[in-house]
Symmetry: C2
Subunit: 350 residues, 2 copies
């Protein structure tokens, strides 16, 4: 094999680069089917939504929770899976829509808890990257996120694919047209083309011992996913906090040697985060912002996102520079982003 083929991070880099094409594919080929499924589910009139997932997909599920509460106006919760799989809880799930999100659709606990939910009366929907998976099999409905095979251990393209599929689902459930997503493929390509900016930013974290990542509202799932990506590739402990929770205790941990990354949504989430940013600046924190140019200018450094994107789909762009950051910091530390130690692609938890 040539050096190029065996270079560390080759697979992750290729999969990150595919994201504009994957988003395009979902909008062109996936959207009609998602709309159809949404119409069928809406006809069943679910009153509550429960979301079940692990790892990266759990962060996609959290994004869907915000969409469901804000855009759809339905109460939603993330399931504590062990209540079913370890304790055998059998809640009555009449009128409940259970959405299970999983790249592989293969983890036994997700299959078992979805099967139990269906038996308990729930409408079940699997959102996966594998239509032939056991999870798709046991679910009443299935949405394929069409990301193509994902081989790098850190999930990237399946995360943004899950976000977009879930956005289109919620739009379908409320009779929206999903128009806010139309420009995302082109905008994503524009963001990914600026990898050199992220590489410069990565120097900052090469020797970091810890990181705090914060956001609010729609940006909070991005903070969690960025932390997970950084932890599993760089091994730096990266702790995500909603801005509000950060003020309720962990702020004590932030000082001038604990760098902070803030994802500042352009909209109400960003406004709600503002007092937290002020407190962090007041403590002399090294604050790097992913957000609009003006927010970046007011911070120590950052990555400016394109303006004018509706807040509810910003997470699909926000994560891109953070995926690149995880990649670049890992390379800078002499590790291989494709193969974090100790991990397997399909994690079989029970």
């Amino acid at each position: 094999m040539s050096d190029h083929q065996t270079a560390p991070g080759r697979i992750m880099a290729a999969e990150m680069a595919e994201q504009p094409a994957v988003l395009r594919r979902i909008l062109d080929e996936g959207a009609p089917k998602i709309r159809g499924i949404a119409a069928e589910i809406a006809a069943r009139k679910p009153r509550f939504v429960l979301l079940t997932a692990r790892g990266t997909s759990d962060n996609a599920a959290l994004y869907a929770k915000y969409l469901i509460e804000i855009l759809l106006g339905k109460p939603a919760g993330l399931t504590s899976m062990s209540t079913t799989t370890a304790y055998g809880a059998k809640p009555d799930l009449t009128d409940v829509l259970v959405i299970t999100v999983s790249q592989s659709g293969g983890s036994p606990d997700l299959v078992a808890s979805t099967k139990a939910a269906r038996e308990a009366g729930a409408v079940t929907l699997a959102v996966t990257n594998n239509p032939d998976s056991p999870l798709a099999e046991v679910s009443e409905f299935h949405i394929d996120v069409l990301a193509g095979p994902e081989k790098a251990l850190p999930a990237t393209k399946t995360y943004t694919a899950e976000l977009l599929a879930l956005y289109l689902l919620v739009e379908g459930l409320r009779g929206g047209d999903g128009g806010a997503a139309r420009e995302l493929p082109a905008l994503a390509a524009g963001v990914l083309a600026r990898q050199a900016e992220v590489k410069a930013l990565a120097e900052r974290y090469r020797f970091a011992q810890r990181l705090v990542i914060t956001s609010r509202g729609y940006g909070y799932p991005t903070a969690r996913e960025a932390a997970l990506k950084l932890m599993e590739t760089t091994y730096i402990p990266a702790t995500p906090f909603s801005g509000a929770d950060l003020l309720h205790g962990p702020l004590a941990m932030v000082d001038n040697v604990s760098p902070v990354i803030a994802i500042v949504p352009d909209g109400k989430g960003g406004e709600a985060l503002q007092p937290v940013l002020d407190r962090l600046r007041g403590r002399g924190a090294d604050l790097v912002v992913v957000g609009q140019q003006a927010q970046v200018d007011a911070a120590s450094a950052g990555f400016a996102l394109p303006p004018g994107v509706p807040e509810e789909v910003q997470p699909i762009l926000e994560i891109l520079p953070l995926q690149l950051l995880a990649y670049e910091v890992t390379i800078a530390r002499g590790q291989d982003p494709d193969a974090p130690r100790a991990l397997a692609k399909v994690t079989e938890t029970r």
Copy 2:
């Protein structure tokens, strides 16, 4: 003032020591009122439960979520507060019980979101340490956790008080007698009397740069609360993971310089955690266990909990050695547990 009165951690130490008396007070004086409120709420036949809280109280709320799903068999979720307070979401909350947990009952976002929930048709219940608080005022029902004034910034006695009050509430909702809690005051006194053991354990973490804390099932809220307590007092980044999520990525972060604390419930949660413990031992992790003696013996070190306690109330004991650990590590590092930098007791997030 004498040295004794101004010693670092004096207030936190005193409040931790009060816990057996607080638990006794809740069982003796609080339980009848909690039972009455539970009966009134049960008569309203809620179908879905949402829990709202921040910081330490959010970990108590997560414990209640497990109780509600497992013992009561109702679907439950933790609210993403910003959907209401920042985005103005107005979900239909008919048939929903909204439980808001807060030590002070004073944070404006909790008050606003509880008020909004009541207007949206929810049955609202505040669980606080302050019956005269704005939160108690706006809620239809109120449970006083009877912990007495809490002055140290790290919450300790209000956490265990919230846990016990929530356990008795769920027992009341399902017509149980709460008998599993009867021995807790005496058992808690026995655990707290073993502070010297924890002090010895604290030496291990004096120079730690990071900590991973894991558990499953009923023990998972304990892992989260232990991480929060350690972060806000010692400033060591302590990252909590459900055992299952740890295998889905962050395991890469664990090596022989990242100590792991595992809370191993005596029961199904502990059984579900076993494969995770095996993987951690296989990676040569420094594993400290809070759990039964046999589990401690199989680890690098640990703190043995009394046997024979029903799993659903074990969290009320599990957290005690971890509170003491946060205290002792903070003292060992020359800091004052009573006054973490940057924190205020009543955090006003909006």
